[in-house]
């Protein structure tokens, strides 16, 4: 192991490293939590999930117009399938985020770094 890396590993401030790894994982989760459809992008968060499910509950299943990430109105042809895909993306990513975060919640600095 490189001498500099060894020294840094020895003197690493656990919390700085932990918080930084957590920050990176959170950003990675946000990056993946986007649904690209109908030539537009939609950030998936709790508010968006609630909103699209509410529209679906009200019986809107075809040609539904919603606002994308760039504030443009977009018509979603098969809205039922759009909602399902959105939920699938969210479930997959949130589970991955949970697993990754669990890995770094250990006291050993090497576990935090996944090395």
């Amino acid at each position: 192991m490189n001498e500099k890396l060894k020294n840094a590993l020895e003197f690493s401030n656990y919390m700085v490293t932990y918080n930084n790894q957590k920050r990176i994982l959170k950003q990675k989760f946000l990056d993946q939590n986007v649904h690209y459809a109908s030539g537009s992008s939609f950030k998936i968060n709790k508010e968006f999930i609630n909103f699209i499910n509410l529209l679906l509950q009200q019986g809107q299943t075809k040609d539904v117009v919603i606002i994308d990430d760039n504030d443009n109105p977009v018509q979603i042809e098969d809205f039922k399938s759009f909602v399902e895909t959105t939920m699938d993306i969210y479930s997959k990513n949130v589970n991955e985020y949970y697993t990754q975060l669990k890995t770094i919640k250990k006291r050993d600095i090497k576990d935090v770094l996944g090395r």
């Binding site: 690493s12 401030n13 930084n20 950003q27 990056d31 690209y36 537009s40 992008s41 443009n72 770094l113």
Partner: protein, 284 residues
């Protein structure tokens, strides 16, 4: 519609951008499954030094070698810095040089580790670039750049961008070339202190002009994902199983570093000298 990636590589005496381009292209092919073309003034170096790797590229577009007078500081961590020639002048020719209808242009020190950028092709927009970026150094805030100068416009990162050929993007690249050709004037107008021509600044100015001298518009839109980066003051230590390990320099205590790792995340590694060592360790 043809799709692909183009890389620019103009070697100087010490940095082998062509080798970086080979490494970068291999990552692009692995994760984005796109053809990669190389624009270079060092085509001979590619064929002589890496004859078996020429096939990595879909096309090698040879450009004329120009005499470069500007020099850039290249750091390798917190050690001694070097001033080397810096030829970054042909980025504005991307529109004319690309063989593709839809192109992603990226720096050779941008290492792709996931398929996030392929989402560009699912969007209707004609131009995408990042304005905000994520510095992997947890304590490196004093070095972060958000504007082209303290009193000027927000900075866009020309590290990676996507464009679709049309009238609007053609106009944009023509404007970019005009800014480059009149750099002394635009530098003064936008109150940019460094003398060197920098693509990030020229792109930011061109976007500002194209938007009617306004900020916070929705053109261009951001690229999918986030631009993660480390500076040349930071070191890249290894790259195993798609996981980078970085030593992030402490701005308050010279010579001390904290560690950060990334897995399956694309990273812009600005320490070219450390990147050279890493690529060598990968057998290129």
């Amino acid at each position: 519609m043809t799709k692909g990636v183009i890389l620019f590589a103009n070697n100087n005496d010490e940095i082998d951008y062509v080798r970086q381009a080979i490494f970068c292209a291999k990552q692009v092919q692995k994760y984005l499954k796109l053809p990669v073309s190389l624009v270079t003034d060092s085509a001979e170096h590619l064929t002589n030094k890496y004859p078996k790797l020429v096939d990595t590229f879909d096309q090698v577009i040879s450009t004329e070698k120009i005499q470069v007078f500007q020099r850039k500081t290249f750091r390798d961590g917190m050690g001694k810095a070097k001033k080397l020639p810096w030829n970054n002048f042909n980025r504005s020719d991307a529109y004319n040089l690309t063989p593709y209808d839809e192109t992603i242009v990226m720096d050779t020190d941008y290492i792709v580790c996931n398929d996030n950028l392929s989402n560009c092709f699912k969007l209707n927009d004609d131009f995408m670039i990042w304005k905000d970026a994520f510095y992997l150094n947890p304590i490196g805030e004093p070095w972060e750049i958000r504007n082209v100068s303290d009193v000027s416009i927000e900075m866009y990162w020309a590290t990676v961008f996507y464009f679709k050929k049309n009238k609007k993007t053609k106009t944009f690249f023509e404007l970019l070339k005009y800014i480059k050709d009149n750099w002394a004037y635009y530098r003064w107008i936008y109150q940019i202190a460094p003398v060197n021509f920098r693509n990030d600044f020229a792109f930011s100015i061109a976007i500002h002009i194209m938007n009617g001298f306004e900020e916070n518009t929705n053109w261009p839109i951001k690229l999918p994902g986030t631009l993660y980066y480390t500076y040349d003051r930071d070191l890249v230590e290894d790259f195993v199983d798609n996981r980078f390990t970085f030593l992030c320099a402490n701005p308050n205590e010279k010579g001390t570093y904290s560690i950060a790792t990334t897995k399956d995340i694309n990273v812009h590694i600005m320490n070219k000298i450390a990147l050279e060592r890493l690529i060598e360790s990968q057998g290129i």
